[in-house]
Amino acid sequence: MLVIDHVSKVFNPGTINEKKALDKLCLTVNDGDFITILGSNGAGKSTLFNAIAGVFLADEGKIVLDDVNITFDPDYKRSKYIGRLFQDPLKGTAPHMTIRENLALAYLRAGRGFDSFSRISKKDEEMFREALKKLDMGLEDRMHTQVGTLSGGQRQALTLLMATIVPPKLLLLDEHTAALDPAAAEKVTQLTKEIVARNHTTCLMITHNLHQALQTGNRTLMMADGNIILDLNDEERKNTSVDELLRRFKEGAKTELSDDRILLSE
């Protein structure tokens, strides 16, 4: 269970560019929840993810994951329990290293004591191959290929696998299919659903697709001005139409909708 308790973050405090990115935000995420998050640009969605992942420390408030207060833990310590995918498929992998080496690094999160000087074992390699097979992209036969030569969709699928090869307590998906072509996006979305369902991973997903937001997962949040303005559970979502959501969205954004990234289509 993730508890975010009155977390605030101000960027450039005391300057003309001061921006309150998170404003005493409170959120409780139950185990096994799959939450989709909506909000216009600057609503604080990515800032919320950064605060959870530990990219920066919150100015005030606390973050508790499974009864452990992680408010002051640096990002690399939190990454042991929190997996994250970005919109940019290049962000999650090392391009000049092979698929096998990338997976080996991701697998370090399993943290089996001090084995810094051990090499990738046959057993590990077999495990990686099995995991790659499940992606159904033929990557299991290209273990020694440099990741930089893969396509965006393949890289994002690999990043997804790396983030979940040691099942995390929490998976943060920051519009992870937005930069992919429709076919690849569909594939990665499918894989995400499969992997999350298989591991019962607690998951937060940012999306700009209203339709997808209502269809995916079991709970939908809408953010504006660094806070949550709408929190729909599964029951409530069934009674909410995309039009209704769009109306609430406009209300929240307080401005006429100029955000053409909102997708109403399938």
Partner: protein, 298 residues
């Protein structure tokens, strides 16, 4: 001729360790580590001082340890105190000047007269005949290269490689990139220290200015090696390129020295030009391509 080849091989092997260090810092970690100049002299000073005190073998390990220390300080400055990486190296380098003088007993040069060195000790074994210096230096260089090759395939080595490739991904794998940068720079400077140690005992002297522009020469050798070995394909190939590049550079150097084809005073300028051209080559090639196309089409 044999003299030329022998000298080139000897110096090539010894200085290839500096290139190996630059390979770790510049290529793998993607950090321009300018500690190198001072660190080389540090290794030399520690090595010659301890050899003078009668511990030539201990001297080599002492020099490696000293190199590690220098690397740690540079890494500490940039990872914990937020000093920009190039500046961190320069700051350490400047400080090392005094440390080096101290290590040499506050004199600007130090010589070994009758004291034993690892080379005189090795001569007694009779291995290699008149090539004993080359044999010992090559053995040391190859041993280090094998060690680096092995290290780069361990989990820690992989993390260091990933740090230079995609730092975000390293923190996402629960590894602290500050730690990997520190380990990488310590390993690199250990190699530089060892290179200085071997050079000092080989020439039986240490000089406070021996490290001048060694970082540029090391880079030149790195680039020569990579060009001859056809790019950067695998770690093993890259590491061998460090040795090959050095031998080629020292061969050219020895020939120039022998034939006076180019005045020896101009050698540093030549080296600088070679390095600048080699690093600029990709962007010059691209610009030339655009220019040619524009001329053709307009």
């Amino acid at each position: 001729m044999q003299q030329i080849i022998q000298t080139a091989l000897l110096l090539g092997c010894i200085y290839s360790l500096v290139t190996l260090a630059l390979f770790i810092s510049y290529r793998v970690l993607d950090i321009a580590d300018l500690t190198t100049d001072g660190c080389f002299v540090l290794g030399m000073a520690v090595s010659v001082s301890l050899a003078r005190a009668g511990h030539p073998v201990l001297a080599v390990f002492g020099a490696m340890l000293a190199g590690c220390g220098a690397g740690f300080i540079t890494a500490f400055l940039q990872t914990r105190l937020g000093v920009p990486s190039i500046l961190a190296g320069i700051v350490t380098n400047t400080g090392l000047y005094t440390v080096n003088l101290m290590a040499m007993g506050w004199s600007s040069n130090l010589t070994l007269l009758k004291q034993e060195t690892i080379y005189t000790m090795f001569r007694f074994t009779g291995i290699g005949g008149t090539w004993y210096q080359v044999v010992l230096s090559a053995a040391a260089a190859l041993l280090c290269m094998a060690a680096v090759r092995w290290f780069m395939s361990t989990r820690l080595g992989l993390s260091i490689r990933a740090t230079g490739d995609n730092r975000d991904m390293v923190s996402a794998s629960s590894i602290n990139p500050k730690f990997t940068v520190t380990v990488g720079l310590m390993a690199a400077n250990m190699m530089t220290g060892l290179s200085g140690a071997l050079a000092g005992q080989m020439q039986k002297s240490a000089d406070i200015n021996a490290g001048n522009s060694i970082v540029v020469i090391g880079l030149a050798c790195l680039i020569i090696g990579e060009t001859v070995m056809q790019g950067r394909k695998s770690i093993g190939r890259n590491i061998l390129a460090c040795l090959l590049g050095n031998i080629i550079y020292r061969m050219i150097y020895a020939i120039i020295l022998q034939t006076r084809f180019i005045p020896i005073e101009c050698l540093k300028l030549m080296t600088a030009v070679i390095v600048a051209l080699a690093i600029a080559a990709p962007s010059m090639k691209e610009q030339a391509g655009v220019w040619m196309r524009a001329r053709k089409e307009i």
